[in-house]
Symmetry: C2
């Protein structure tokens, strides 16, 4: 197998993960960026990327990448890269709908000799135990004879990040050695280095432990934050001191949301529960992190208890799950907001990084500009947007009533300028 410009690759799901992949692959193959989201495809055809990973001018220059929502156009692809989101449902179980839908679409359009590479985060075994039987059934083709599978976990870091596809290592596992070598060649063209692993399950497992490790480390720091508040100690001063040790690992307390860290561990625990193993560390971490939104809400209510909460107006600065991006997926501040609203508090939401239309599912008041004087009873700064730092604490404080409180969850400002931090 030789990589040739006439090769046809399809990337299924052109979001945060799929678009950068499709753009990179288009340098040496004809690429179809396929998505069931018509609006996304229409925008991409106009070179508009809502995820803000690419500027319009950049996308305009990309050749050999066509966008489509029509399944007929993906036929005859040599490789299908599946990069659809794999979220969790309300019961915190894997929601595989996108993955299964994508698999069905690909299966119906599979030709002999094709390769399907999954990049979506899944639990170990998912590719071969859930997707494979489906592909064989629908396509009527034989695994490792008529078609091949591989798994190569995405390591996309949305927003401002120095780690992008081209300077990170890519893990690849496949059921077939020849295919593994072929995919290695392909990925070598678009990323820093390829790390081939022995099988698909090992690649799936490697991905799932990366974010699980981050999750439990943040959970530990969150537990420290809760503990040291009870002892009247300042966690920031303690962390600063501990960070002077050569092997201390720097993490900060905070709400853990997003599409990865707060989600991936549940994929692993789901699989483990199916195997009748109750994970101790992983679930303990999830429990603490999931509880932080409520912990914050309770703290706010507690500190505002002087008069009735019903009459209080609270300004929330920051809607996204992390700083300096517009990404709202699984953002935990909405859990805090819900809790506050239940108590009758009027919540006002301000996030200069998020387009207003994306906030339309939020039923409260959306604030476009901070120009009210002595209006809010309290403010909650939930993420460390650079925009907030530029705005300055004075400007924020002007909007708050005299003696109003500022809860600065992520210590965006020096701790003596606000009233509480995690």
């Amino acid at each position: 197998m030789i990589i040739m410009k006439k090769n046809k690759f399809t990337v299924v799901g052109v979001g945060y993960v799929g678009l950068p992949l499709a753009v990179s692959l288009s340098k040496f193959a004809k690429v179809i960026g396929f998505d069931v989201n018509k609006k996304r495809i229409q925008n991409l055809r106009k070179h508009i990327d809502d995820t803000n990973e690419f500027k319009s001018n950049y996308l305009k220059k990309v050749k050999d990448l066509n966008y489509s929502f029509k399944t007929t156009e993906i036929k005859d692809s040599d490789i299908f890269f599946i990069t659809v989101p794999t979220p969790i449902n309300k019961k915190k179980k894997p929601d595989l709908k996108n993955l299964i839908d994508a698999t069905k679409i690909v299966s119906r359009n599979l030709k002999k000799g094709s390769i399907i590479v999954y990049e979506s985060t899944v639990f170990p075994g998912c590719t071969e135990e859930i997707c494979l039987p489906l592909i064989e059934k629908i396509s009527n083709l034989k695994y490792n004879k008529d078609f091949y599978l591989a798994y190569s976990p995405e390591r996309i870091n949305p927003g401002k990040s120095k780690f992008k596809l081209k300077n990170t290592v890519k893990i690849v596992g496949s059921s077939n050695k020849k295919i593994l070598r072929y995919l290695k060649k392909i990925y070598q063209n678009i990323c820093l280095k390829v790390h081939p692993v022995i099988d698909i399950k090992t690649a799936e497992a490697a991905k799932i432990i990366e974010n699980t490790q981050r999750d439990i480390n943040i959970a530990l720091i969150n537990e420290f934050s809760i503990i040291f508040k009870k002892m009247n100690l300042d966690i920031n001063k303690i962390l600063e001191a501990a960070n002077t040790k050569w092997n201390f690992i720097k993490f900060e307390p905070g709400l853990v949301g997003g599409h990865c860290i707060g989600v991936d561990p549940y994929y692993l625990t789901y699989k483990l529960e199916k195997m009748n193993y109750k994970p101790k560390m992983i679930l303990a971490g999830r429990k603490i992190n999931d509880n932080m939104s409520k912990y914050v809400a309770k703290k706010i209510l507690n500190d505002l208890k002087l008069t009735k909460p019903k009459k209080k107006k609270i300004l929330i600065l920051g809607a996204t799950f992390k700083e300096n991006c517009s990404d709202l997926r699984n953002s935990k501040i909405f859990d805090t907001i819900k809790f506050l609203e239940k108590k009758g508090i009027k919540v006002y939401l301000f996030d200069p990084l998020v387009p207003i239309e994306e906030l339309k599912s939020f039923k409260g008041n959306i604030v476009k500009k901070l120009d009210r004087k002595n209006f809010y009873d309290a403010a909650v700064i939930s993420v460390k947007h650079e925009e907030f730092i530029k705005l300055g604490i004075k400007k924020i404080r002007q909007n708050i009533k005299n003696k109003g409180l500022i809860f600065d969850l992520k210590s965006t400002f020096p701790n003596n300028q606000t009233d509480w931090h995690l």
Copy 2:
């Protein structure tokens, strides 16, 4: 206050922590290295250091450091550094006996204007809540008027380590700003940098979270090890792949023993339980790590079950809690050994790094040399001593019966050369 050669400093407890400190301080003050362990003092007077931190020739050259077990000789000290061990008891609660005994001895010999600096690991609040009342009562002196307190956590890394006192940062917290500045000057002479903190409790807290963080990170990897064995996946291959991510943190599965990582978290949980807070992450980590010795023993028994365990002979390679040192403190392999012996297995212990006399509390067979052919039913390599690597797997295998199994807990050898690893 000026640091002068005529200053008299006493270091209480000259073990792993106290001896390097006493040696360093003797460069600019007259130092007494005090210990209640007569044998240790007698040895040090002969320039013999059982902890192997210093060679005899080096100790011979040290001036202005005198060793003593007589409490009268510590009178009139300007500063007392308390560096005694703070272990846990059988119920996993802090065993403060050494700390309290040291405090009493110092209190009885305290002069006006002296400083007591604690370096032993304790829970936040221990210095001021437990030690301080004792000092005031015994000495009849007033805190922050007649005497001062400080806390500066030790970060000694026993054995072969590039991190020693002189190239690490030292945290210092004190109840008095002048004393803090004075101690900063002193420590600056012997370590890389001083990091002063706002109070004693912050310094205590910073120390306790360092090892707690390591403990839960190893616990997570141990949980991964258990999980992936159930899935028939090789954790080493998964970790190798995950380690290619820029922010994955490298840890290995293993038994967690020693005087720090397996002990310090219990100091924190003790304090938290007193405050009616049940720590979730920290105890989950301890539970997993404490259970690993039994998990290993069960695995060994399981794999040897073909005939009766009573007739089996198992060779254990490595008695220490970590590689390349002679430190037996809280070494968890002894829990595995106990479990095996209860089942009637004959255990043979081999550790070329530990002097035979230090193993005398071990009731089983001590092996001085590996020179038996086809003798043992199985071998367990519990730590990654370089000596074992030099010996080579062939030599080890010769001692084992044909079809005998080698359990290589820490993957000291390539996984295909042994039968099982964590």
